[in-house]
């Protein structure tokens, strides 16, 4: 069979995607992207039809975060493209490698306010690492390959490429576009090798760590993003100093490490926050002093010097001055600091941190929630009776009421965590349930928890679970969501049905916009404006209408069996969990307050 002499722009797009190693894409067709969808019809690339372009963008995002591959989503012009923007903005905030392909009206019609025409380039300027518009077919291979390069290199992020319909249909000679691919790959390698900071600087940093009496590792999402968890754990083991993690870093350090103090920040553990406030040296690894972490910035770690290791020079000295900045990919720079620390530790035997270690262990013992002291095991019954709140329950009442006891979400989540295999992936939406997941569930790698950090997007959880499961079919994927968030991308239940994706959904239902309700209770005089969601639909009936098995539980005694049923089920499953609307997330650092001033209950 004669090889085709020419191909269309659309076919060229797919050919380049294949060469980039793309096997799955997420999208929704439409007028301006029809030529691309026509070419997809013959392609080996698997396209997953979502039911909203936002769902497609989040599916690509979940795919990328679970598998470390570039997530690819596509949509038509106008509303299709604008619907991708929320997912793109989320990828920008959380540094996720995404390539978004949008159709555009024909080049002749551009700028005339055509049907389904929108200036997506203009709109995406603020929420992409970079964007391309292909005005000439000759630009297509270069721009598309560069899009992949930019998305993955340095600090990852989303790149949008806008392709007019007539360009998609233009015939082009079937020439080898691999030249651009080779250039693009070289670009990625070059970015990876870049690292500033001479050995001398690393030596100085190591000296600071040795000299510090109260050092602490402040670990951020950058460790997971750079795939340097092993290198981090080497450093943590060697240095034997306390560590705290941000939301995106959960799972980086071995959670069984005795000096791991938990998550820090607005809903972090008291031990983590107090330790950071007392520390004299922050070793910041792939973190950016986000406001959810620092609380009142001027009051954050007031006595600490800072060693800041990050790939993005713009993050260093942006919010907090660094005494030593080590710019570069942690995959390269962590081994360098490890070497220096190792060298110096072997020369000097000092015990200047013994008191600090005891102090941190004491803080951990005194302040970590009871629930996370429980050993990760099958002791399910142990967990559902000890609430984190300070409500006193007399023993007899506890005994009598055990079966009638309402479900306490953190307890359920802790039990769930114990039942899941270490390689299970958990996605969340945003709000109280998200914080409870972060506080009570345990992860063995940062890629196991996929949660919207920087942008905090409700509606994130279900589509990202879909993308994660597609990228990692052998891993159990659980999506913990709330009744508010669940409704936001509800249409993606159709995607679950279409592809029979066996995600497990745990819906924590308090019939409220929970986190906002909590803030209204604490800071707005209990004026519960627009946070009552008690008119929710029947979620079980809703799930079943999509062919998804579902069940409601309301009592603590039902939890263990329900979790087992959900995990044993071979198909998708929705576990609808009703909880008390008054349950709040503790501790909480109020706005404009330093992290040592945590609130632990309603006044």
């Amino acid at each position: 069979m004669k090889k085709q002499k020419t191909m269309t722009g659309a076919q060229q797009v797919l050919s380049i995607l294949e060469k980039q190693g793309v096997t799955d894409v997420f999208g929704y067709p439409g007028g301006a992207i029809m030529p691309l969808y026509d070419a997809l019809y013959d392609s080996g690339i698997k396209h997953y039809l979502c039911r909203h372009e936002q769902g497609a963008a989040f599916a690509a995002l979940g795919y990328a975060r679970a598998s470390y591959r570039v997530g690819v989503c596509m949509a038509t012009s106008g509303p299709g493209a604008t619907n991708l923007l929320t997912g793109i903005a989320d990828a920008m905030s959380d540094s996720v490698p995404l390539v978004a392909i949008t159709g555009q009206v024909a080049t002749k019609a551009m700028g005339t306010d055509g049907f389904q025409e929108v200036d997506i380039i203009g709109l995406s300027l603020a929420c992409t690492k970079h964007c391309f518009q292909v005005k000439d077919i000759k630009q297509l291979p270069e721009y598309l390959n560069k899009a992949f390069e930019i998305a993955q290199s340095g600090r990852p992020g989303p790149v949008l490429i806008d392709i007019p319909k007539d360009i998609q249909m233009t015939e082009v000679l079937n020439h080898d576009s691999s030249l651009h691919l080779i250039e693009a790959k070289k670009g990625i390698e070059k970015a990876e090798r870049q690292s500033a900071g001479t050995t001398m600087l690393f030596g100085q940093a190591a000296e600071m760590i040795i000299a510090a009496e109260k050092p602490i590792f402040y670990i951020g999402g950058g460790v997971g993003l750079s795939r340097s968890v092993a290198e981090l754990r080497d450093l943590v083991d060697m240095a034997n100093i306390p560590s705290v993690e941000t939301l995106k870093a959960l799972g980086s350090v071995n959670f069984e490490d005795s000096l791991y103090l938990g998550m820090l920040g607005m809903h972090g553990t008291k031990a983590a926050n107090l330790a950071v406030q007392e520390s004299d040296l922050l070793v910041v690894l792939g973190a950016r002093f986000d406001d959810r972490v620092t609380g009142k910035l001027e009051g954050f770690a007031p006595n600490a010097k800072v060693i800041h290791m990050d790939i993005d020079p713009a993050e260093v000295n942006k919010r907090r001055k660094a005494d030593i900045a080590l710019i570069g990919d942690l995959k390269t720079t962590l081994p360098m600091i490890n070497k220096e620390v190792d060298k110096q530790f072997s020369v000097i035997k000092i015990s200047n941190k013994d008191e600090w270690r005891s102090r941190c262990l004491d803080l951990k013992k005194r302040f970590q929630p009871e629930i996370s002291r429980a050993v990760l095991s099958n002791t399910a019954s142990l967990l559902s009776t000890k609430p984190l709140s300070t409500k006193p329950l007399d023993d007899k009442a506890k005994e009598l009421n055990k079966l009638k006891e309402t479900i306490f979400a953190p307890a359920l989540l802790r039990e769930l965590s114990g039942r899941l295999r270490p390689d299970a992936i958990v996605t969340t939406d945003v709000g109280q349930h998200q914080m409870w997941v972060a506080q009570t569930m345990q992860f063995d790698h940062p890629s196991r928890l996929i949660t919207s950090g920087g942008l905090g997007t409700m509606g994130f959880g279900i589509p990202t679970a879909i993308g994660a499961k597609i990228s990692s079919p052998r891993n159990t994927v659980v999506s913990v969501t709330g009744d508010g968030s669940f409704m936001m991308n509800i249409q993606e239940l159709a995607t679950i049905k279409r592809y029979q994706i066996p995600v497990k959904i745990v819906l924590i239902d308090n019939a409220r916009l929970g986190m906002v309700r909590q803030w209204q209770e604490l800071f707005f005089n209990r004026r519960f404006s627009e946070t009552d969601l008690s008119d929710n639909p029947d979620f079980v009936m809703l799930a079943r209408s999509f062919g998804i098995e579902s069940k409601t539980i309301t009592q603590a005694g039902e939890v263990s069996e329900a979790i087992e049923e959900m995990l044993e089920c071979k198909n998708a499953y929705l576990l609808h969990v009703k909880i008390d609307a008054l349950d709040n997330v503790w501790p909480l650092v109020p706005p404009d307050t330093a992290n040592d001033q945590m609130i632990e209950k309603t006044a």
Binding site: I121, G122, L125, A126, K129, H130, C131, Q133, I150, S153, G154, R155, G187, K190, A191, Q194, I311, D312, P313, A314, V316, N317, K318
Partner: protein
């Protein structure tokens, strides 16, 4: 131009999005623009941009730091090849920082 004005010289790829991205950064990060001059060079391949930002809202000792932060943000832009910070004080030009091609 006075001591609150900081000049930045930029060499960028002549792409339609360059100016908009540049001004998005100055607006979003809070650097009021008090001057802007753009010329194509190298037979239309590149843009030579002189940008002047005004830091009067910022107290004197923090200005150098704020300019470094702007420099860092501008350096991240893919189409921008070179960024020079220049602070004119009287007749003396002090080259404050210089960037070669960086991917970030």
């Amino acid at each position: 131009m006075n001591s609150e004005d900081f000049a930045i010289e930029i060499l960028a790829d002549n792409q339609p999005t360059v100016l908009e991205r540049l001004l998005q950064v100055t607006r979003f990060r809070g650097y009021p623009v008090s001057g802007l001059d753009v010329k194509t060079t190298d037979e239309g391949a590149n843009l030579n941009i002189q940008l002047i930002v005004n830091l009067k809202e910022c107290d004197e000792p923090s200005r150098a730091n704020e300019m470094q932060k702007l420099f860092n943000q501008l350096s991240k832009l893919f189409d921008i090849k070179h960024v020079n910070l220049i602070h004119r004080r009287l007749e003396k030009r002090t080259l404050v920082a210089n960037k070669q091609t960086v991917y970030c």
